[in-house]
């Protein structure tokens, strides 16, 4: 019997070590795997590479992980936040590396890793500072930048419902980066608000097939 449910955050995160590349889902306060990020903080890791849309923001545990010095490099689209953050200070001190990627290119690079596209062209960022040093090619009269797939060792994602095969649904704008990250990582750990019996999720409406998910921890939040 396939059963991907695990009983604790600790069991969910087992195997994540120093130097791992992690994708963390979420946009703003919605769709972030908060309990998993809190669990990461408790592990006291070093040299992580984190791929996430935001970095400096004042929501979720990521800023705390940054403050803790666990992160060597952030790949994101929007590290800026209101007020000065630990991220800004570490960046200014050269203690954290930042790769800034346009949000759509970030999404497409993550998707590419999950779907077996090693590289693709995009007109986004052509002629800007974010394309400097990158290969370009004119296709149909328009300059496009060559971008490479972005994979990860682990993805931490937040779902609304999950079954024991790891099938997931998301709620509202909580979908965001979660499905593409689940597919892009070699090992995907989901936290879900609700456990459902196998067969209870409508096959038409599964948003991440269980194939992309290795472990599920049901957080049992009130929401």
């Amino acid at each position: 019997m396939i059963d991907k449910f695990v009983p604790s955050v600790e069991a969910a995160l087992d195997g994540i070590g120093n130097g791992a590349t992690l994708m963390i889902g979420g946009f703003g306060t919605v769709g972030q795997p908060d309990c998993l990020v809190d669990g990461l903080i408790a592990r006291g890791l070093r040299d992580l590479v984190v791929i996430a849309n935001n970095a400096g923001g004042d929501f979720g545990g990521l800023p705390k992980l940054i403050e803790q010095g666990a992160i060597a490099k952030v790949i994101c689209s929007y590290p800026r936040a209101t007020g000065k953050t630990a991220f800004d200070a570490l960046l200014a001190a050269g203690k954290i590396e930042l790769e800034i990627v346009p949000q759509g290119t970030l999404a497409e690079r993550i998707r590419a890793a999950g779907v077996g596209v090693p590289a693709f062209y995009t007109p986004t960022a052509a002629g800007t500072a974010l394309a400097e040093g990158k290969e370009t090619r004119v296709i149909n009269g328009r300059e496009a930048v060559l971008e490479y797939a972005l994979a990860a060792d682990f993805a931490l994602v937040q779902a609304w419902e999950a079954d024991r095969w790891g099938n997931l649904t998301y709620r509202g704008t909580g979908r965001n980066f979660n499905p593409i990250m689940a597919a892009a990582a070699r090992f995907t750990i989901a936290t879900a608000h609700h456990a459902r019996p196998l067969g209870a999720l409508d096959p038409e409406h599964v948003m991440t097939p269980g194939l992309f998910v290795q472990r599920v921890f049901v957080a049992g939040s009130a929401l």
């Binding site: 946009f27 590290p79 960046l91 930042l98 998707r111 007109p123 986004t124 998301y170």
Partner: protein
């Protein structure tokens, strides 16, 4: 230089909103552009897109009716209007990058006479640059309209011959709405279409960094 006074920020948003036809799909950038939605009546069906995964953003929720799972790209709580759809990031940016948006309304640091614009980085050291979806919108929307103050703090022109700030996208902007004027960008550069009440072409030209045709 005498201080000149044009449209208020709500008036700027209202002026731009008046030009959005029914049926368009429109992305409104964070900040001032977000106000535009307030001036498009619900019965003029305009489909607002938010890049975190919404097509058909509705008005802000009534107090007590907030759904914490429903936010826009500016992290504000939203509602959905009938006909709305939700999607993940890859699909949401497919809407933008696949040229399915009729219009993106974005803020700007500078707009150049050739349609280049800059709105994501001042290039100053020690400040984490933050691009979000600006470059995707700049390169992907069928039209980009910039909504911004005509002049920066300190009296520096924001309408310029060539951008000095790091570019967001090249040659994308077709129209600029400021507190002072509405300006088209054409093959021959800026063309002044309308001045705020009480202002003359000379008033607007005086605070612009490039000729207004």
């Amino acid at each position: 230089m005498t201080e000149i006074k044009g449209w208020s920020r709500p008036d700027m948003a209202r002026r731009l909103a008046a030009d959005i036809p029914e049926g368009w799909a429109v992305n409104l950038g964070i900040g001032l552009p977000t106000l535009v939605a307030n001036y498009v009546p619900l019965d003029r069906e305009v489909i607002f897109h938010s890049e975190n995964g919404v097509l058909g953003v509705g008005p802000a929720p009534e107090p007590g009716a907030e759904d914490p799972w429903m936010i826009n790209a500016g992290k504000q709580l939203i509602t959905l209007r009938p006909g709305a759809s939700l999607m993940g990031q890859a699909d949401s940016f497919a809407v933008i990058r696949g040229r399915h948006l009729d219009l993106a309304v974005l803020g700007g640091y500078q707009v150049a006479a050739n349609g280049d614009f800059a709105n994501w980085s001042t290039g100053r050291a020690g400040e984490a640059p933050a691009v979000g979806g600006a470059m995707d919108l700049g390169a992907g929307a069928k039209q980009v309209w910039v909504l911004m103050e005509h002049v920066a703090k300190g009296g520096v022109a924001k309408l310029v011959e060539r951008c000095s700030y790091p570019l967001t996208a090249r040659g994308s902007v077709t129209r600029v709405y400021t507190d002072l004027a509405v300006i088209d960008i054409t093959a021959s550069g800026f063309v002044l279409r309308e001045c705020a009440p009480g202002l003359s072409r000379a008033d607007v030209q005086a605070v612009s960094g490039a000729p207004l045709g």
